[in-house]
Structures are given as structure tokens and as C-alpha cells.
């Protein structure tokens, strides 16, 4: 059985004979402009169908909603006033004060003159993506082996193997992977054939219906040494792609830089290999608490507790046998 929790190199743990450097994303939300080019590039490259009803969701500029079977990059928009910004600065400062792990000696606190004025208003924009966890809940619980760990340490679904059991959907602590259904809302003709005047909205055929789908970190591009579509298209380099180790180092430098500018609200998400999923392949720099962005504040891969669950289930099964034996003892009273 592979390692179920704690720090590890996931590709080596999956027993790849030729382990490549672990690849990942570093999404620096402090320079995201919310252009959604990553969403579009992802959809185009991966031939992901439209999902949803093209409706306005009433959540700022976010009309995508959430990551899902056909949405592998999702840009979150959060509007905040001064009070929320101050709270974010405080919660970030509290993280520093906790003595959370950081690289190098702590820098001296900025002088009051260096601290930027708190703005009246800010937009938080963050491009969310599959975390490609070190210990991936989806991968662990997949019964068919459709989900697998690549040599780059990422997690990919084989659409031709998946039978759509849906266990991975519940197994993901981040709510990323989803079973694709024909979510296109445009009415179609009954026999599926386009007829003049009947078909509303030209819809290409939806691939991989009924199977689990999620970000592959552009596995098909990776094996040709190409950059994933979202990172390639990102105009501000908010989405960075590269070797995981380099990206974590870069992320730590960037957060230290922001802290030195007095922006204590900056923090990293997923850069700690001691966390509940063994660290994530996609690391984020956030400017507020993770739940503000729809991210879980303390995710834990459920499989970490699986040996204990099996033991207790075994005990319960033993109890059931004991109850049955007890019931048959004493003959036909």
C-alpha cells in the first residue's frame, strides 16, 4: 500500500521507475487581474464543453461558479470593504505571530511609514485549479484505477477506464473532481440531429459523458515539455508553472516580499508538506483566509484514517458474527 499521509514524493511513492521532477502551479493571486483567460485557454485546449446555463450568478464577475467536470480553472471574485481588508491583515499577522514555518530569519517589522494605506475597497481575484495533492483523496478511493499518478507527480483521470462510480467526487477534500453529465442547458432536438429552426445554440458533442473529469495539469502538453494552457496564456504571470520545489521557493520569496511591503494579509496555501494532504502540487498565494475563496481551511485526505476505519469495520464485522453465533446458541428455545 502506498504511503497514506505525510511528506513524500508522490511519483516515487507510486513506484514510477523514472521519476521526473514534480510539476505544479504557483498561483499568485496578488497579481491576478481576473481576465479569465486561463478559464478560456483551459476549455479550448481540453475540449471541455460549456456547463451551466450562461446565467449571471450575482457573485461579482464570477459567473462560472465553481470548479467542476467541465471547468478546470475557475476565477473567484470577492469584493471587500475596508473592514474585511483589516480583518484579513489581522489574520495574516496572526499567522506570522504563530511562528509558522518560513524561510530565513524573520525580517524586522516594517516602519509605520512603509505600511500602505488600507484601501476603501478591494477585489480579490484568484484562479482556482485542481490541487494535485501529494495524497490525493480522489486517486486513493478510485476503484478502477482510472485515476493515476503521473511520472510528474500529478493526478490524471483515464476517461476510457473510468466507469463513473462517483467515489472520487466525494473523496476530494477540495470539491474539484466531478462526474460529467450533459450539463448543457441549450434545448436540443429530440433525436439529437440539428434541424432547421429547432436547435437552439450550436452545441458540439460532449465528450466523456458520465465519467469523472478534472484538471490534468495538461498531461498531454507536459509530455512534450510544453507549459499547461492556463499558465501559458496568463497575461500577468499570476499562474506560474514549473518544478514544484522551485515554485514553493518562489512562493515563499513572494510572500516575504509582500510582508516586507506591509501587506500582512498575504499567505501561502498548500506549501506545507506537513498539512492534511501532504502539501499540494498547486500552491496559492492568498490575500485572505482560504474559506473566503471557497477553499477548505483545514483539508485532510480521508484515506489518512483508512487503516483505523478498516480496523473498526473489522471489529464491527466480528461483532456481527458474535451476535449471530450467540443467536444460534441454546438451540430452538
Amino acid at each position: 500500500m502506498p504511503q497514506l499521509s505525510g511528506p513524500t514524493d508522490p511519483a516515487a511513492d507510486a513506484r514510477w521507475p523514472d521519476v521526473k521532477p514534480r510539476k505544479g502551479f504557483f498561483t499568485d493571486t496578488s497579481i491576478c487581474i481576473g481576465c479569465k483567460a486561463c478559464e478560456v485557454a483551459c476549455k479550448e485546449w481540453n475540449h471541455n464543453p460549456r456547463d451551466g446555463d450562461l446565467e449571471l450568478l450575482g457573485s461579482s464577475y464570477d459567473n462560472t461558479g465553481a470548479l467542476g467536470a467541465s471547468t478546470w480553472r475557475h476565477v473567484a471574485f470577492i469584493e471587500q470593504g475596508r473592514e474585511r481588508i483589516e480583518q484579513a491583515q489581522e489574520s495574516g499577522r496572526a499567522l506570522v505571530d504563530l511562528g509558522m514555518p518560513r524561510v530565513g530569519a524573520p525580517k524586522p517589522a516594517p516602519k509605520p511609514a512603509d505600511i500602505p494605506d488600507t484601501p476603501e475597497f478591494r477585489w480579490l481575484m484568484s484562479s482556482d485549479v485542481c490541487k494535485h495533492c501529494t495524497h490525493a483523496g480522489c486517486l486513493d478511493v478510485c476503484p478502477t484505477g482510472a485515476l493515476f499518478r503521473t511520472e510528474h507527480g500529478t493526478v490524471v483521470v483515464q476517461a476510457d477506464v473510468c466507469n463513473g462510480c462517483g467515489t472520487c467526487v466525494a473523496g476530494c477534500p477540495f470539491g474539484v473532481i466531478e462526474r460529467r453529465r450533459d450539463g448543457t442547458a441549450a434545448p436540443k432536438t429530440k433525436d439529437g440531429e440539428p434541424k432547421h429552426g429547432e436547435r437552439k445554440g450550436e452545441q458540439p458533442e460532449v465528450p466523456n459523458l458520465g465519467v469523472a473529469q478534472k484538471c490534468t495539469l495538461c498531461y498531454d502538453r507536459l509530455i512534450d515539455d510544453q507549459t499547461p494552457a492556463c499558465a501559458q496564456t496568463c497575461p500577468t504571470t499570476s499562474i506560474k508553472y514549473g518544478d514544484h520545489a522551485d515554485l514553493v521557493a518562489l512562493a515563499r520569496e513572494r510572500v516575504a516580499e509582500l510582508h516586507n511591503e506591509g501587506r500582512t494579509e498575504a499567505r501561502l496555501y498548500g506549501a506545507n508538506e506537513l498539512d492534511g494532504v501532504g502539501g499540494t502540487g498547486s500552491v496559492f498565494l492568498l490575500l485572505d483566509e482560504p474559506e473566503v475563496y471557497g477553499l477548505p481551511p483545514d483539508p485532510r485526505v480521508p484515506t489518512a484514517d483508512l487503516p483505523r476505519m478498516y480496523r473498526l469495520a473489522g471489529l464491527a464485522a466480528g461483532g456481527m458474527v458474535a451476535a449471530a453465533v450467540l443467536s444460534f446458541l441454546g438451540g430452538r428455545s
Binding site: 518560513r102 475597497f121 466525494a170 484514517d305 483508512l306 476505519m309 469495520a313 461483532g319 444460534f328 438451540g331
Partner: protein
């Protein structure tokens, strides 16, 4: 001052300035912003404990097929145990009825499982590998092994009931030679069949299921026992149901105790769906039926009519338990509160205990 005709579509600036927790009014200069002179939030300010109230985790895309399977798998497992007991103690009617119950329940349950797949035609992919980290994989193998034994044992019963009319030819003696072994093989896989579904639910990020991980197997095997015993009390004359009645009472006691312990030890927020709403109502009804069925079994289990009624109550109780727990989990995944609040609490508790190195959020 209007600068554009579209300004009339702008929502009004909240009266008295934007809400502030500490009660202080924001110092404002000039216009409030509703005239478009500066940026203002277009979304009402929320308590940002979540992202627009949207779920953090996704619920399993499972319909009531899966809830039915949880129930039927339990009935099958319990029935195979009772059949094996009947086989070993020479209670032939009990053995026959329970073998037939086991194969019927597991057959319908497996069909429900396949029906719920996104790609039902690929159901055999479940057996493409053995993966211990996947309760679904382990369970598929348990289900297959169980069905093999239960199928052979039930085929032998069916052959006997129809006066050896199955077109078996020279294989008939083989069938009747191995039926005993097959019945015992099914019984060996029966408790795992009843228990693994608890691990299947608990090994997810679904808050209520995951928080119940320590006690759920005990709830499920108890529920399976009382359901199978109840079914035997319906199908089998009282002369041979003494073991079923004992198992029913043990099952009811186990079910009540395990459920109560589960509710108390779980995170209080994650446990809420077990008390409230539709799932809470289902579980309360289930508990009432289990108690009624248990008392009926104890007091009137030797009378055929009372035994059958009590048995029906027990079967219904088990079905409602599974449905209630299934729905509680799905509900807990759809509301971000059940994910975020317990996680924030456990993170704060670890920090208070001095463990500050295992948070996913770090300052550097």
C-alpha cells in the same frame, strides 16, 4: 449627478453607510459612490465564512440507488449469516428462506449499484484491479465473493423447490455437493459485506459521513442484523425463527447504542444533519420503528402475526437508517458550513494545543 443612463440600474447605496461590526460609522468624503463617481461593491456584503454560500466539497453524485444498496447489502449479509446458522443447526426452512433472501437482496442491490454508475456498461472495470486504499474496490470484491457463494447456495435451494427442474444435467450432484460449502463461503463474506459500506461512506470528504467514521460500521452491522432478522421473521414460521428473534433484539440494541454514541462523539456541527431536517426525521422514525420492532419481537415473537409485523417494522427501520444517513451526508456536503466550521474548529484546537506546523495556510 447622473453620468450615464445605466446609472438608474445601480443598486442603492446601503443606508447609513456600509455595515461595520464595531458600530463605528465610516468617515465619508463627498458622494457615496452610487452616482458612479467611484468604485463600490455591487454584491451585498456578507459574512465571509464561505464563497457566496457555495459548497466547498462536492456531494457524491449518488442517487437513492446507493441508499437502497446500503440497505440491501446489509439484508443480504445478515440473511447469509442466518442461512449458515440454519444450515449448521438443521433448521431447513430458515436456511432456505434466508438463502433466497440473501441472493434476492444482493442481486437487486448489485443492479442498483450498476444502475447508479455514470457508465453502467463499464461495471466490470470495478474488478480490473484490487486496490486496498479504495473501499469501493475492496467492496466490489467482497460483493463478488459473497454473490458467488450466495448464488450457488440459492441455486441449490431453487433446484430443490422446483423438484430438480433446473437444466443442470450431470452437474446436479456437484451443485448439491458444494451448496453447503457455498453457504458457508457466503457467510464468511457476509459481515464484511455489511460493514464495508460504512467505510465507503466514511472514507470521503463528506462532513457528516467522515465525522461518523469511528461508529458508522457498528451502526451498519447492527442495522443489517436487525433487518435480516426481521425479514426472516416475516418469511419463516416461528418454530424456526428463535435465532432470528435473538439476532433482531441484539441488532436493535446495537443499533440504538451505536447511533447514540456516534451522535455524541461526532463534531456537533457535522452531526446536525443527523438531528435536523429530512434526514433527522428519517432517523427518528427509524429509531422508533426499531424500538417498536424490538419490543414486538421480545413480547410477541412466538406469534406468527406479531412476529411478521415486528419483522416488517425492523426491515423498515433499517431502510430508513440507511436512507437517513445517506441523505444526511449529501446534505452536509451541499452546505459549506458543515465543511468550514468543523475544520476551523479543529485547526484552532490544534493551534491552542501548540501544534502550529501542520496547517495548509502558512505565513511563508
Amino acid at each position: 449627478m447622473t453620468t450615464s443612463e445605466y446609472d438608474s440600474l445601480r443598486p442603492p447605496e446601503p443606508a447609513g453607510g456600509r455595515r461595520r461590526r464595531d458600530g463605528r460609522r465610516r468617515r465619508r468624503t463627498g458622494q457615496a459612490g452610487a452616482d458612479g463617481s467611484r468604485e463600490m461593491p455591487m454584491v451585498p456584503e456578507a459574512e465571509f465564512t464561505s464563497y457566496y454560500g457555495r459548497p466547498v466539497v462536492k456531494p457524491a453524485p449518488w442517487g437513492h440507488d446507493i441508499a437502497a444498496y446500503l440497505f440491501l447489502g446489509g439484508v443480504a449479509g445478515g440473511s447469509a449469516l442466518l442461512a449458515a446458522g440454519g444450515q449448521l443447526t438443521g433448521q431447513d426452512t430458515l436456511r432456505r428462506n434466508c438463502r433466497l433472501a440473501a441472493i434476492s437482496a444482493v442481486g437487486v442491490g448489485a443492479a442498483a449499484l450498476v444502475h447508479d454508475l455514470g457508465r453502467p456498461e463499464r461495471f466490470l472495470n470495478m474488478l480490473r484491479t484490487i486496490k486496498l486504499t479504495s473501499p469501493m474496490s475492496v467492496g466490489s470484491w467482497i460483493l463478488s465473493a459473497f454473490s458467488a457463494g450466495a448464488g450457488v447456495a440459492a441455486a441449490a435451494e431453487f433446484d430443490r423447490m422446483t423438484g430438480e427442474r433446473l437444466p443442470l444435467g450431470p452437474l446436479r450432484p456437484v451443485l448439491h455437493a458444494v451448496e453447503g460449502l457455498a453457504g458457508l463461503e457466503a457467510a464468511a463474506f457476509a459481515p464484511p459485506l455489511a460493514a464495508y459500506t460504512a467505510v465507503l461512506l466514511a472514507d470521503t470528504a463528506t462532513p457528516t459521513w467522515n465525522a461518523a467514521r469511528d461508529e458508522l460500521p457498528f451502526v451498519f452491522v447492527s442495522s443489517a442484523s436487525l433487518a435480516a432478522a426481521g425479514l426472516a421473521m416475516i418469511t419463516t414460521p416461528v418454530a424456526e425463527t428463535a435465532p432470528a428473534r435473538k439476532l433482531a433484539v441484539l441488532g436493535v440494541i446495537g443499533d440504538l447504542v451505536a447511533t447514540e454514541v456516534m451522535r455524541r462523539r461526532m463534531d456537533p456541527v457535522a452531526a446536525e444533519p443527523l438531528h435536523e431536517g429530512r434526514s433527522g426525521a428519517l432517523l427518528r422514525l427509524s429509531e422508533a420503528l426499531a424500538v417498536a420492532g424490538g419490543i414486538g419481537t421480545l413480547l410477541g415473537g412466538r406469534r406468527r402475526g406479531v412476529a411478521a409485523t415486528a419483522g416488517l417494522a425492523l426491515v423498515a427501520a433499517s431502510a430508513l437508517t440507511r436512507l437517513g444517513i445517506f441523505e444526511a451526508g449529501i446534505h452536509s456536503a451541499k452546505d459549506p458550513r458543515y465543511t468550514i466550521e468543523p475544520q476551523k474548529r479543529r485547526l484552532a484546537a490544534r493551534r491552542a494545543a501548540g501544534i502550529t506546523d501542520d496547517s495548509i495556510t502558512t505565513a511563508g
